[in-house]
């Protein structure tokens, strides 16, 4: 499976476009992580627990999108876009979408 956020895949030939695929996930943080982050808020810098949380969420959404593409019989996804939104206190949604294609 090859993915790209460009419209064309250089070095490959796209034989068919299969349509839109997407994957999304809603993640909330837990209290333990929040406590450490509260301490870190005093001195500033990266909140590693939160970074991990976001990475996990992105990975999950991405894998869901790939699964959907696989079901359609695609072997590539082009023009992939990520979109994030904070929905309520402490929870955010991550959406990944793209166009499933068959490449030769």
């Amino acid at each position: 499976m090859i993915t790209s956020n460009t419209e064309l895949l250089h070095g490959y030939r796209i034989s068919k476009q299969l349509g839109l695929v997407s994957g999304s996930t809603v993640r909330a943080k837990h209290i333990g992580r929040d406590f450490m982050a509260g301490l870190k808020n005093i001195v500033g810098g990266e909140l590693k627990g939160y970074t991990e949380l976001m990475s996990e969420a992105r990975e999950e959404a991405y894998l869901r999108m790939l699964e959907e593409a696989k079901k359609m019989g695609a072997n590539g996804v082009i023009n992939v876009r990520f979109s994030t939104a904070s929905i309520t206190q402490g929870a955010s949604e991550l959406l990944v979408y793209g166009t499933a294609v068959i490449i030769e």
């Binding site: 090859i2 993915t3 790209s4 956020n5 460009t6 419209e7 064309l8 895949l9 250089h10 070095g11 490959y12 929040d34 982050a37 509260g38 870190k40 808020n41 005093i42 001195v43 500033g44 810098g45 990266e46 909140l47 939160y50 970074t51 949380l53 976001m54 990475s55 992105r58 992939v80 876009r81 990520f82 979109s83 994030t84 939104a85 904070s86 929905i87 309520t88 206190q89 402490g90 955010s92």
Partner: protein, 146 residues
């Protein structure tokens, strides 16, 4: 009276400790960024799509950063007076540099020459909750190419 003096001393010294450690964290981060940027200078970046030999695939990273309490306070003052908040601006720029460095590391792992079609995405957690303010999520993604 003695006890009161001790309490004041404890308060000021802990504020001072927090202040200097936040400065130190910032200073160390900037140095780490500079070192990493020098090492990864050969990986080229572009926000446009490039005519290349081969596409290697999507790469993406994100990180969550927070303002220190002192910069947060100066930002709060800025929201009253208006104008440019240098501290907050500097933090966001550092965050983006860090995200780009991680992106480049992923590209190196794939054996890429560079990353094209680079996009930044940002998210603030400040949805009403006070403790969530001054935290930013920075995301960078692009396509690694050869």
């Amino acid at each position: 009276m003695m006890f009161l003096a001790f309490e004041w001393l404890a308060l000021f010294s802990s504020i001072g400790l927090a202040f200097f450690s936040s400065r130190w964290i910032k200073h160390r981060h900037v140095q780490q960024l500079q070192n990493a940027e020098q090492r990864l200078a050969r990986i080229s970046l572009s926000s446009a799509s490039i005519n290349c030999q081969q596409t290697l695939g999507l790469v993406g990273t994100e990180l969550v950063i927070s303002l220190d309490a002192f910069t947060a306070f100066s930002l709060w003052l800025r929201t009253l007076l208006g104008g440019n908040s240098a501290g907050a601006n500097e933090l966001l720029q550092r965050g983006r540099r860090e995200a780009v460095i991680r992106l480049k590391r992923e590209a190196v792992a794939l054996g890429a020459k560079g990353v094209m079609n680079l996009r930044f995405e940002q998210l603030t957690f400040s949805s009403g909750e006070r403790r969530n303010q001054n935290r930013f999520s920075i995301q960078a993604y692009g396509t690694a190419y050869l």
